[in-house]
Each structure stands twice: as structure tokens, then as C-alpha cells.
Symmetry: C2
Subunit: 249 residues, 2 copies
DNA sequence: GTTGAAATTAGTACGAA
DNA sequence: TTCGTACTAATTTCAAC
């Protein structure tokens, strides 16, 4: 509940840009779909695959880039081939009000590929790629341990990466929307999470969903029973005082 | 120790290709470095930035692609702009010998962006992107719960994504290699993990490390103390019988 | 592994539907 | 808005060094 209006105004854009974002129609999504599979495709070929003229493709392509919907283009590489065969996840508990420092230290660690702030038992998850198991150990006990902001860590190794999609698109839904959507029993403290899930970072999405319906149904469909409906499902909310973290980060 | 020789022979390549992989020299890494930041750069411009001739750049570029070091090119998009503002991590405990089924089901779930098999308390971690919190709930209780292979789940929400590098390169090290590398105390049951960390999927890297030294030290430097060296560090090994999982997956 | 020239393709700008 | 065409600039390919 700290900053709900995060993406209803400009936020990540350069000064002067209209941060409200363009409405993505079906054609835009189609373009993204193609670009996700082949980021190096020429705009001419892109136009053909999407079924629009070249001029139109250039316009939309540029619009997506300018709007920030496309953040950048990148090459996906094989980490093993590149010599980084070990991947690990390190779950970090961060000392409150030291997030700024934690983030600064992260930037100094080139082996960190991904870092996300999470709800649940830990505060953050970082993914590292290194040459060998020993490097993980060095990283955790030697580097992370020396950061005052880090209170505790928990490390697991990644044995295999089963699936990696460049990113998910709203248009992907419909393919796997298997069984019926349950009638949605009313208010029940949506996901038991202590609020943050709906108020923090990437949340507050509903914004520019365009043609892809269903956005905005958040308030009407939450239905995580009070004490875990099915057998072994657990939704883990934020730890104590997490709200403060958002400010620092 | 199940299949250490994983990438010393061909493995991911098409039939007929020399799967041994090309040795990556400093120039190759430089190319990857540029491509990571700008996947749409022309080969001509790439050549200039790397400091080699056009023809050379084309040759190396093609070699990296053919070898599989570059898996594909993709566009990075802003999930919030695309209408998927909620990101969650679901940790899954999988019923043994049902991994094949689990993987098949995963392919049916378009909202899954990433799935990795891990050591530790759970067996897999999947990352999903959806429009609202309710969709996470639906996904977990309705879709995942209906997969017999899924024994239990634990869900956390991602509040913010602090850092996302397209990928990490061996050449990145050296920038953050802060303090001294510890003398590496000898055998100590490397990471306490029941073997898998060194034998499974992405492990067994040592292969084509090329100019970047230190690969291959895995066997000699493992040093995760028996019972957690510093204060609150935890290395979480594999659950019981994890070895079997590798076969199925 | 490099340079240079030819052929192709990409990117831009315009008017018309 | 979107399309189609013509123009300009760049990239890729292929040759010889």
C-alpha cells in the first residue's frame, strides 16, 4: 500500500516522455511475439510475418522501443559453453534499512545475473553463475558475509534449467488456460499475503492490458482460503516490516 | 557423478556438428559482451567495437551461433507495459518418478517464464508472470494442484526486480573479485549436497573455459564446512532420492 | 586475418487510399 | 492510420591481398 500509483504515472521513462505508455493492440503483441523468438529479424521480415506493411512495422517497432515496452535486445548465450557451468540461487535475508547498501554491493558482483525482492521467509533471491562450486562458496561466505546488510543466506544449486522463455506475453494465455475458471468465492484475504503483493514493485499491473481482457479482475477473484485450501499449498507473505524495504529500494 | 563427461562430447548440437565446442578466446568474449548489450547491432558495427575486421567478425559471429554458444537473440520487454504486472515464484515439490509428467504440464503453462530444478527443500522453482494476484492463485490451486506429479507448493511474490543482467560472462570477473581467495581447505563433502550439484545438469562445466583460467578447480576447492562456517549461512543440499530425478528429466 | 568493391538489403520519406 | 513506392544509405557477401 506504499505506492500504488506506480505505473499510472511515468516512472521509468526519460524526462519529457509520456510515461502513460501506448496501448498495445493485437498487432503490437504479434510484433513482440516475433521479436521474442528472433530479436535480430529485419523490420521488413517482421512486417511480413506480422502481416502489415513495412512502413507500419517501422512505426510500431519504433513506438515500442520509445515507449519502453521493448527495453533492449540481447543475445541469449549458453552459460556452460561460456565457461560458467554452475548456477546457484542464494536467498538473502537483509537487515532492515540497509537495502541501499545491499543494492550497491550487488552492482559490484558481476556473477549475479538476477536479483529480486520477494515476500516470504527471505527478503531477496539472487541467481549467480560461476565456474565451479567453490566459487559459490567463496561468494557466499566471503563476499556476501562481509556485507553488513546481509543478515543470513540460504543457498541452493540449480541442477537443470528445464524451461526458459525470453518473456511471457498476455497473448500467450488461451493456450494453457486449461480447466474452467472457478466461480471465485468472494473476499478471503487474497493470498493471505500481508498486503505487499498488491502494492509493491511490479504489482498494480492492470494498466495497459489492451485487448487481452481479464485485467482488473484482481479484486473479484481472490480466493485463497483462510488456511490453505488444497493439501499442501502455501502462500508465503512478507516478513515483518517489509513495507519499509520498498522505500529504501 | 552420474554423467561427468556431459559436454566433453557433443550433446546439444545437431547431428553432424562437432559438438566439442569451439574454444572461446578473448575476442569471442568481447563479441558476446557487445551482443549482450545490443543484440541488434550490425556485424559491421560489432567488428568496429571489438576491434577486428568485418570478415573476421562475420566468421566468429557465425561460429558462435553454429556452436550454440549463442542460443538465440531476443527482445527484452517490460512486463508491466505488456500487461503482466505480477510476478511470483512457486517452489514445487515433485513426486518422485513423475518428472516427465511435470515437465509436460509445464509446457502447457504459458505464464511460466522460467523453471529450474534445484537442490534444497523443494525440487523445482518456477517463475510466473500474470496480470493479477488472483491469477497466481488460480495457477497454483487450480492448475498445479491438478498435476499428480506436484506434491506441494510454496509461493512467494516478487516485489521488485532489482537487477537483471542478460547473462553473465567469465570476463565479468575481475571487476568484483574483491578480497583474497581463501586457500581452499581440502575435501569436506563439497556443499553437503548429496552429489547432484557436481553431477547434474549445468554442472560439470570445466569444459570450454578457454582463456578464463580457474575452471576445473571444482574438485580441489570445495570447502563448505560440515555445519555452516559463518553465522547464518546455509547450504541446502538435495532432498532424498534426488538422483533419480535426473534420469526422468 | 585483412582490405576493398559489387550486390543485396535495410531504412527513410513521401504521396495516395 | 495504413499502405505502396521510390530514394538513399547501409550492410553483407565475395573476391584478392
Amino acid at each position: 500500500m506504499t505506492e500504488m500509483s506506480r505505473n499510472s504515472t511515468q516512472e521509468g521513462g526519460q524526462p519529457g516522455r509520456i510515461g502513460i505508455g501506448l496501448e498495445l493492440d493485437a498487432t503490437h503483441l504479434k510484433i513482440l511475439e516475433v521479436l521474442r523468438e528472433n530479436g535480430r529479424i529485419s523490420v521488413a521480415a517482421l512486417a511480413e510475418r506480422v502481416g502489415i506493411s513495412r512502413a507500419n512495422a517501422y512505426t510500431r517497432f519504433e513506438a515500442l522501443r520509445a515507449d519502453g515496452a521493448i527495453k533492449r535486445f540481447t543475445a541469449e548465450i549458453d552459460h556452460v559453453r561460456a565457461g560458467l557451468g554452475i548456477t546457484a540461487l542464494i536467498f538473502v535475508t537483509v537487515r532492515q534499512q540497509m537495502w541501499r547498501q545491499f543494492r550497491a554491493q550487488l552492482a559490484q558482483m558481476p556473477e549475479v545475473e538476477y536479483c529480486a525482492i520477494t515476500t516470504g521467509q527471505h527478503d531477496a533471491m539472487i541467481q549467480v553463475r560461476v565456474t565451479d562450486v567453490a566459487a559459490v562458496h567463496t561468494m557466499v561466505t566471503d563476499r556476501l558475509a562481509n556485507i553488513p546488510a546481509v543478515k543470513a543466506t540460504e543457498t541452493v544449486f540449480i541442477l537443470d534449467e528445464v524451461l526458459r522463455r525470453p518473456y511471457v506475453l498476455p497473448s500467450d494465455r488461451g493456450a494453457g488456460r486449461s480447466s474452467r475458471r472457478p466461480p471465485a468465492d468472494p473476499a478471503a484475504g487474497s493470498a493471505r499475503s500481508t498486503g505487499p503483493a498488491g502494492s509493491a514493485g511490479p504489482a498494480g499491473a492492470a494498466g495497459p492490458a489492451g485487448s487481452t481482457g481479464s485485467a482488473g479482475s484482481a479484486g473479484s477473484a481472490g480466493s485463497v482460503g483462510a488456511e490453505v485450501p488444497l493439501g499442501m499449498m502455501r502462500f508465503v507473505g512478507a516478513a515483518e516490516g517489509r513495507a519499509q524495504l520498498q522505500q529504501d529500494v
